[in-house]
Symmetry: C2
Subunit: 125 residues, 2 copies
Amino acid sequence: MSKQMLPVFPAGCCEPMVREPLGEQDAAELARMFKALSDPVRLRLLSLIASHAGGEACVCDLTGPFDVSQPTISHHLKVLREAGLVGSERRGTWVYYRVIPAAMNRLSDLLQAPAQAGVPAGSGT
Amino acid sequence: MSKQMLPVFPAGCCEPMVREPLGEQDAAELARMFKALSDPVRLRLLSLIASHAGGEACVCDLTGPFDVSQPTISHHLKVLREAGLVGSERRGTWVYYRVIPAAMNRLSDLLQAPAQAGVPAGSGT
């Protein structure tokens, strides 16, 4: 009955880091979010949720693809949730997860860089 | 004399993860890159390099803002370099660092998500 709204990520921070250096507080917060992405199983879980039909996945959809136990999957989902990258909602028997687009886009925007690569770093001495 | 070219990051991977789930190999590689970003000092170092005039920073520009020792800064720069996020070049006395745009954009593209947030996850039961 009561539809639970997913948390809306506060806007503001972050400009692409090519424009301005990060402050200490933003860096600490963003490092925690990147830490949640620093595990291959968590990255795959996040991508499974993000790409699932309708943009959300039941926890029952998320255990099959992995060689790890259900409690391990639950732990990883908790880390993603605590980092603010996914929201969850219980409906009936199952818990459903969906990504929080504002959080993903905050990290995505931060990492945007000019496209050129392979440019010499400058004249030698 | 010999201008060292920065490594050009291999193109291909990655579609935004909202489009397709990550494979195991990509997830392992990307998790290593995100791990390099999971430390506040490394994030600030990367943002200092990225936002520095001319897109590159001398190691001599990178120690002042931090309360950590020069060897610690060097260690963090090595982690960023080994993750493929920055390239370095020695010119004269100093080593210069610049970000590798293709690597940053690979992570940025991966995390792109549709903009809407705060959408109810669906009808309750």
